[in-house]
Symmetry: C2
Subunit: 493 residues, 2 copies
Amino acid sequence: MTHISRIASVLARRHPEIEVRPGSTGTAAYAHDAGTRPRVAHPDAPGPTVAFPATVEQVQDVVRVAASLGVAVVPRGAGTGLSGGASADVGQLVVSTDRLDRVLEVSPADELVVVEAGVVNADLDAHLAPHGLFYAPDPASYETSTIGGNVATNAGGLRCAKYGVTRESVLALDVVLADGSVLHTGHRSVKGVTGLDLTSLFVGSEGTLGIVVRATLRVRPRPVARRSLTAFFPDTLRGAHALVALAATPVRPAVVEFLDGPTLRGIDAHSGSDLSARGGSLVLVELDGYGIDEQTRDLTAALAAAGGTVRVESPEDAAHLWHLRRHGRGVGRGEPRWFVGEDVAVPRSVLPDVFAYLPELERRYGVEASAVAHAADGNLHPLLSRPVRADDAPDVVPPDLAEAATALVRFAVAHGGTVSGEHGIGTVKRDWARLELDDVALRAQHAVTAALDPHALLNPGKALPVLEPRTPLDGPVPRAAPSTHPDPVPTTV
Amino acid sequence: MTHISRIASVLARRHPEIEVRPGSTGTAAYAHDAGTRPRVAHPDAPGPTVAFPATVEQVQDVVRVAASLGVAVVPRGAGTGLSGGASADVGQLVVSTDRLDRVLEVSPADELVVVEAGVVNADLDAHLAPHGLFYAPDPASYETSTIGGNVATNAGGLRCAKYGVTRESVLALDVVLADGSVLHTGHRSVKGVTGLDLTSLFVGSEGTLGIVVRATLRVRPRPVARRSLTAFFPDTLRGAHALVALAATPVRPAVVEFLDGPTLRGIDAHSGSDLSARGGSLVLVELDGYGIDEQTRDLTAALAAAGGTVRVESPEDAAHLWHLRRHGRGVGRGEPRWFVGEDVAVPRSVLPDVFAYLPELERRYGVEASAVAHAADGNLHPLLSRPVRADDAPDVVPPDLAEAATALVRFAVAHGGTVSGEHGIGTVKRDWARLELDDVALRAQHAVTAALDPHALLNPGKALPVLEPRTPLDGPVPRAAPSTHPDPVPTTV
């Protein structure tokens, strides 16, 4: 009898108040996140055991039991991740934060909230609206993803152009560590330098250092004004160069999104819109705050000087455009296709080079390539695809497409960028992460991880490439080998 | 022959190109930082050995030699710290970053600079001005302190009200680790989530994890407009309550400083100004950016509603007021006094409680208390003092003053605040840090430190209270006992 098969019964006996679903076909959904769901359903595939603690103490109890049985723990929010960070083997215990869904405090005077990890991003924002406040980080999954998951991945979104990523909104965390103790990091004050900045260390750690159970988050007053502008350019490259020109203005929009020509055509095909009739690429901007007319004037001048056709959109048209940007990339219609969605980030000046490289990728690898970008951050979401062919293996990304994707990641890293701007490494990007992390960096990463989770109990094998045992940093123990979970390529973006 | 007495000769033999000053009375200044200089000079006291590497490779060489001899390394920028973080025993090797003073790159398009650690904050800003850019973090020491020191302490300043502390301006670091290897963290892109956020971990680590040798920093366009406002209030508490009222407006000034009544009187006595004739406390604000008239209107309304007498200051008057704020607190005139300068931070709503508590401290401990605050951040710099008495020990803070200071720190921590908003823990605040870090937090802090510096080579005993060996986190080694360096109380603020 393996330990995982015992964990449900041990938990039921010792902690009957905690809801636990033993591994079965009914928990199969917990084997994957949104990025690693197999293309072909396997109706008989069993899932992992899943625990649903409803209090911090219950999370501690679950972790202690798992540790005592040597069962690895996979923390999970809404499972909206795109890199496999919340995927779990049948031999692992998923700890869901679904029941930790309370907003514990809203303090307008201190511009902070205290929430449990399972609170949904959009629900928090709705909770704040009556107070005239908002929570800035808005990942694409904001309608369903949880704060705990946002913290674990250091989620970005559109508004981080002005307001920063999740890290910039986290003041303090409560984290259940691998030994079941609760670590309090940070404070309720904005500033604080007592000890190492463990708050930032946990943000983006993908569940490998501890389970975030509570967060004290910085919130902000809703801006006095918001305004959306479009600038259409004759082609993709003219638009990409305009993004660089924007750096020369002092305007700092809340959102700067860039949609290339193929993306506009895909949206039109999917949504019946006419964006591609208006131009060959689109810079879509949201301004906010004081001096909205002055901001509009300076931004319009810069975009027009760069060759754009600029228009201030009505609130209704703006809402429609933002909906199209968030929801319609033209994926999923027509012939069956393989898709690989990427998440590289580059210095902003490199954006035109990336967009010039996409057609080269298409020629060299026989794929189609398009990209949207959170342009102010240099964060691109390229989409590479090709039709499914009869001789393709069913659940493995075709080698030609994988090679094209790797080439693009190499391009970004070689230009001072990164493998992942906001989605995280999970299991899907472990090999790519090795392109960015040299031996010294990888040893340091593993050393810090092992310091807080010496037995690799928490989300083992995620977030970092394997460290060869022959090159440990002076002292610490390398983490265990990665999970054997198969990782099909992400098919959503 | 001890190892420290050999290190100068070993370095001279192996690396003659590196400037090294053997420990002598000529290096006595390196035994202290600005916060731990003894009140009474000891002309015969020898200082530590000091190395002045001029390249990253030379830093690596110095660290390797020190490691081979088992000599602890104390990284040092300009020595302007106020918590003893750069203080060194005669048995330790100071590694100065003085010769690492090059600005390596300015990229306006990517809004970043690459600098060596020894570049002075103000020199960087001057370097950026012709490009229309500025570097936001502006600690009080900005005219002399270095970027490396700013990074090591996560320095704050006045402008972090709007632009964040040093952490928010650091994109990437090159760090020499305890084994002499160079760790590259971060990237040139704004976003990036590959692996743990080691960049943030090194920011504020006070030289205990590695020696920062290069930094890639985010810079910003100079604002289109700047405007300074004063709001004088009848007394300290009315002013402090106005700070809370500001949270209800959507205006986010670049700087919000608060000067209480005793501070205004001290400045007047020191500088011949007439601030206290204008009111009993002062909220001094700098607005910047777009919509400066709208911002002025909304802020003026809020401050006036809170009982303030508001005035837009001319650029000349504003410059004089900011000079008074930065340079004149009335310290150092008149009878000899003991001073303790603190650096607590609290949630902004607690600011009135802190200012109400200061007179209570005065009564209970027989001290005088005043405070300025970086008010938008809730970061206070209280100044506690009393006259020197004949029976005071010469270099030890009097117990009554120390108790008053500890009471204030306890007050801040009990209200969700922190021991140190921006100065760091160093040696001076190690005991106070224990008020904030519980056993779990302290074990986690030491575990992470030991993971990167397993032999406690780098700045041992700084930044963290000692961890009792009986309570290690599962696995890691606690750091060595703190240095035996005596730490007089800071006398500057």
